[in-house]
Symmetry: C2
């Protein structure tokens, strides 16, 4: 996660709604993907080592998700850029945000 | 796990073999039971919360097993008593150990 200072960004009520929907969509997709992987690993596990591997996987994903899905206004631009880079969201799903925000998000996705 | 000082106990080669077999049997049973529970939880999980519950379960079981299966001579009497109390082993599966050891293990199981 980037730690550079964030310029103050205003979000209108409409933008907040669009952002929340996109945020929830990405979260749902990522959780579904993780869920499928957990079920696959659990189903095929045949030894303690494979259970501990599943445990390590869950620890890492939980930590990652806890940190990543940060809905504070000041973080959203970065969160969306990361979600797009990781494939959980498409830029088109943020339609309705100001040009300025879209431009910032696009710029961050190529970094 | 009890932390009282342990009296020095000698284990013959035969006893070591019996102990190792019983130890492995209990471990296999406990892991199989845990594996079944993990598979059940993973299969029925339908939300992130249920995945985190599975994660918590694995964390606790891993920690518990790491601490419990201690094959040091000085700990075996306590380990066997605990495994019997928890139902992973029966006292009869320790047949061949000295009367003294069996008596100590039995005494600990009623504490």
């Amino acid at each position: 996660m980037l730690t550079m200072p964030v310029t103050e960004t205003q979000w209108s009520a409409t933008e907040e709604k669009i952002a929340k929907a996109a945020f929830d969509t990405a979260y749902r997709r990522e959780v579904e993907s993780m869920m499928a992987e957990v079920k696959r690993q659990a189903e095929t596990a045949a030894s303690p080592d494979e259970l501990w591997k599943l445990h390590d996987f869950l620890s890492a994903r939980r930590h990652d998700l806890d940190g990543k899905y940060d809905f504070r206004d000041s973080m959203l631009i970065f969160v969306f850029a990361q979600l797009i880079k990781e494939g959980w969201l498409e830029i088109g799903e943020l339609e309705g945000l100001s040009r300025d925000k879209i431009a910032k998000i696009k710029a961050l996705t190529i970094m």
